[in-house]
Symmetry: C2
């Protein structure tokens, strides 16, 4: 196994174990086992567990953003833009259940306390798309006059819940339902 393959295997193993049963079920020895490396080897690639988890989180964030933005037309009508982003995010979570489960675990763990603010897609980096979208909507008076935080809550709250319910098998979100659900979210924020 090549060097970079090994790093990848370690990250993959960590993602799987944590997503499947939470941090408490992912000790370093078990991660090493599933990655097919020795326990000590992990420490040649990551300073410690915190760093491993943190980099895993960053990896996922970096994979997610471009997928969500793909095909996004900043000049389209507001509603269309919202539906585009909303359905993309929900679809991404549904198609990448491990990513979703890990991110959720992360945000509810000691590892993720500092990241608390970026609610899965915060006002970080270049990804202020949602913020811009909402600010646009507010200035055009198309959205209800809520603080940004509330608009976020009305949009992301349902999305995260729907993704979780789908992944845990409580509902099957097909393409029709995905679109309809995000349209419903739009109804909650639009005037």
């Amino acid at each position: 196994m090549s060097k970079s393959d090994k790093r990848e295997e370690i990250v993959r193993a960590a993602l799987e174990l944590i997503a499947e049963n939470g941090f408490h079920a992912a000790p370093m020895a078990m991660i090493a086992d599933r990655a097919g490396v020795g326990a000590g080897t992990i420490y040649r690639y990551f300073e410690n567990k915190d760093v491993l988890i943190g980099e895993l989180y960053k990896d996922l964030e970096e994979k997610m953003l471009p997928v969500i933005q793909e095909g996004y037309d900043i000049n389209a009508p507001l509603r269309e833009r919202f539906l585009h982003l909303g359905t993309r995010i929900l679809r991404y979570f549904i198609e990448n259940p491990l990513h979703f489960r890990f991110i959720e675990q992360f945000h509810n763990s000691p590892y993720g306390v500092e990241h608390r603010r970026d609610k899965i897609l915060g006002e970080k980096n270049g990804c202020n798309i949602f913020r811009e979208l909402f600010e646009d909507g507010l200035s055009q008076q198309l959205l209800k006059a809520f603080p940004l935080t509330i608009l976020f809550a009305l949009s992301f709250g349902p999305i995260v819940n729907l993704a979780r319910d789908h992944i845990l098998g409580f509902v099957v979100m097909d393409e029709t339902l995905i679109v309809a659900a995000i349209e419903a979210c739009w109804d909650s924020i639009s005037k």
Copy 2:
């Protein structure tokens, strides 16, 4: 300190520590310390940590339900009923941040896996009020024709997010905002 005082102190200490910094920051020794009892004493009141946590959760559930239902008129118009329940829940969380934070931690911990399904107010016990509300709305054709799970997600998702954002200080939910936000949720589920 009387016997029942002691039990109460233990439960209170556990609630505080877990709500403030999560399960990882609430070892039995620390709970004992904050309760002002010896570590061994806890085991005179609770078989083990799982049981302590479980009873704490049940306690909170029992305190919350009557508060939310108070003044609920099952014969009122559907919208009014929804607003009543929605605002009550959100207000309850805002006024009892420790309860909210504990319940959230619980649902995202090994302790709470089995309770997963009752999303803070599930189809348990006598508390099917929300379910009934939604079924009523569906049969009267006042609500969008979604599966119950999705109606739950559209309602609880925002509520939980708003409570969290308020408690963490990202937004200040006054009475006006509370009502407006729940009205917005109504817009997402109503036809």
